[in-house]
Symmetry: C2
Subunit: 454 residues, 2 copies
């Protein structure tokens, strides 16, 4: 009998509801605090910044399931449901008894899972009559997603793109412009936050934290404009749960259930999207599954950060969030996985890690590219440098299974492809990339002045 490689769902199986893990968590995250008053915030307090529906989703602790609007589902059908794939060729190359599956989010027309939330956010903005939106982007995956989503729902978009990525990934800028967005390298002179950091650090290559400050400032000073964000927040993770909900049905088709679920980790969106739907069976039914977030060694908030209140951005415009963080002024090394260069983890993941419902591992840059090239040469798909971190973690689990002589079912999220990141592969193949280490002292310096948790 022939082996099935790709497990496909028809469009009729596209989820109709998102899964809201916040409703099921026994220990809810501490509330976000107003940056000025330090008082707990309500969803109304977020209305000036976010579309109302998104702000309400952010704070929703009661509804386990939230309807996906038909208009969003129609657009999701451009690429969803995405395939679940058995990585036979990778298994063979590793000579492992483990079964390795991956959810292939790279088939999205923008090249990553980011479109799942971009379409939802653009829709809710349009629905309340907003005409302009702003956002930031690191590697450019979120920015490209938001560009197409804005075009799809008829919104004008301005994107602040981290300067180092703007230079490393010119094709991303072109993509955003092809979909009609305006792209500004950050830090820029167009905002107070940008001008301040340029003045203080003339050669600053940018960070997601700074780009967020700029995008928020522009949104707050533009009429009929909202801000959108591609990770970290609860509502973003919520929209991403279509990944895990589809994967759950597809794993049923394989006749297996994952022992390990892996996602790379920047702010939490793709990891959460795959993991949360499976985690609900752990929370509610005691199902034994390991959930592993794979972060870069150079930006190790989950493995080496502190758990405190911190800002989501560099300038301190956002609410204070309870998070594992390296400090909002942390400037990560210039690794190519731009989407993972963020100082903090979302509140949901931070709480789940604290409650031992999940684990985290750190991956060196060279190990991530080694894994990425092996994956490209076996499974054909050149992974995004971010996704290569998940692959490296999956390979490590598969090799452990081989060492221990046990079978094991591993599921990871291929959050995106790397076709627009070939400069990074070029440099890796030429031997020009390096690992980056971070001293305990650096982490201490960046985190010792944070707002303490109550």
């Amino acid at each position: 009998m022939e082996q099935t490689k790709k497990f496909l769902l028809p469009e009729s199986e596209l989820p109709t509801k998102w899964y809201n893990i916040l409703a099921d968590m026994k220990n809810k995250p501490l509330p976000m605090l107003h940056p000025g008053t330090k008082q707990p915030m309500k969803s109304e307090d977020l209305y000036p910044l976010f579309a109302k529906d998104l702000a309400d989703q952010e704070m929703n602790q009661t509804d386990e399931w939230i309807d996906i609007p038909d208009e969003v589902r129609e657009k999701l059908k451009i690429y969803r449901p995405t395939p679940l794939v058995r990585a036979y060729n990778l298994e063979k190359a590793l000579d492992t008894p483990a079964h390795i599956y991956f959810k292939n989010e790279s088939v999205s027309p923008v090249g990553s899972h980011k479109l799942n939330s971009a379409l939802a956010q653009a829709y809710y903005c349009k629905k309340e009559g907003v005409t302009n939106v702003t956002t930031e982007t690191g590697a450019g995956q979120w920015g490209t997603a938001m560009s197409f989503a804005s075009k799809a729902f008829g919104l004008e978009l301005a994107v602040y793109m981290v300067k180092i990525s703007y230079e490393q990934k010119p094709y991303r800028r072109s993509l955003m412009q092809t979909w009609g967005a305006q792209v500004i390298p950050s830090p820029s002179m167009s905002t107070k936050a940008g001008r301040k950091i340029i003045t203080e650090h003339p050669n600053y290559q940018g960070s997601l934290g700074t780009a967020i400050s700029e995008a928020i400032e522009l949104a707050m000073s533009t009429p009929n404009c909202k801000y959108t964000l591609g990770s970290v927040l609860n509502h973003v993770s919520l929209h991403q749960t279509v990944i895990g909900l589809e994967a759950e049905k597809q794993m049923e088709m394989t006749g297996e259930y994952p022992d390990v679920v892996i996602g790379c980790f920047g702010g939490g969106s793709n990891f959460s999207g795959l993991a949360f739907p499976f985690m609900r069976h752990t929370i509610k039914a005691g199902k034994k599954t390991r959930f592993i977030a794979a972060e870069p060694s150079s930006c190790p908030k989950l493995t080496r950060g502190v758990f405190e209140y911190d800002f989501g951005d560099e300038a301190g415009y956002t609410p204070l969030l309870p998070m594992f963080t390296l400090g909002h002024n942390f400037a990560p090394a210039h690794i190519h996985a731009g989407g993972l260069r963020y100082h903090g983890a979302g509140s949901l993941v931070s709480q789940l890690l604290k409650d031992n419902l999940m684990e985290a591992v750190d991956i060196e840059q060279l190990d991530s590219f080694k894994a990425g090239v092996l994956f490209a040469q076996t499974e054909g798909i050149v992974p995004a440098p971010e996704s290569a971190h998940a692959i490296a973690a999956a390979i490590s689990e598969a090799l452990k299974a081989k060492e221990e002589g046990v079978s094991k079912t591993i599921l990871f999220n291929l959050s995106g492809h790397g076709l627009v990141d070939m400069t990074a592969y070029d440099q890796y193949l030429a031997g020009d990339l390096m690992n980056y280490s971070l001293s305990d002292q650096e982490i201490k310096d960046n985190t010792e002045n944070l707002e303490k948790l109550a």
Copy 2:
């Protein structure tokens, strides 16, 4: 009821046989001639250059169906069957009564349909014990496909890449190298053919014709080495028929049958792959369907070329083929659709055009990019500059339907995505691209000394 956007086939519906139109053609193409003796060639005469099975397929005029080896089908499953998609959003933007469908070959991990034949060619080479293969590539789509295919079957590959594309599309080079291939810009100093043209034309930016000469020369002078080609030849079109065979089943799922089938046209591989399976119903059952090849105005072999015997390459190493051609020394303008910059059309398509079983249209560069941007903004996928020619032709047909107030079912091949061609879109958006015209005198000068047909 919800609209279905993507029509999907399970892996079990992946074709088990290729469709060989040569067996069904009433007028067979004239035989290929030996470049020295001018005598008709047999498949054995091609054995030094091509794997035996491929040479036999090239000459097979009797078998309507040819088995796809299991080893090839296993690798095809990495991305096949590919989706058939209803372009609702494009239809809406055009306000047309036409129904527009496209076969989405861009989901291949190398980004185009080229992998369909690359996997077959690499397999047959491996099967007969070959260790090294050579090829050429224009835009880089075929080269990337052959790079992954060679890695998948354990072959060493050298790719001659047209110099202008090598410079315009650096990411393509990186992709080929990530999959383990050696990439040489053509014309190069590594072959007699390359040295000759460099000497005669010091600033020559290369052409597919020259790159083919170089790849053939390297194959012939390397032990245990075969040459592979991505288009033009019968066996390449044969391998591509998986596209149309799947599309046929998928059109049945829609309840419609195409009135018009469209593919962009360089040497014929993607056009033939989609069109031939539908054309068999025209040949065998008189089904009324229009088949349209969309070629660039700057390289108009089908619409303005002559039908004569000509070489497939610039140096005259290949057999003489009966083809619509602009002359094997024709140096096409530097349009970004590098895959369409080829002087001649394959013998099958040339004969079918002569017999009025199909049509051809020419598309200006600016019209192709305009169509490409509209497609990106509506359907989300940034098309390859080559595929944008097919989109432009489909849009033209859809607008005609609107003008005439008739419904019409249009099917085109989205042969690949343009994520690695963003430089081209950048230049288009900046207003830096232009159309190229070709005078009758230029065509006459290039074609008047060709070998006359018998």
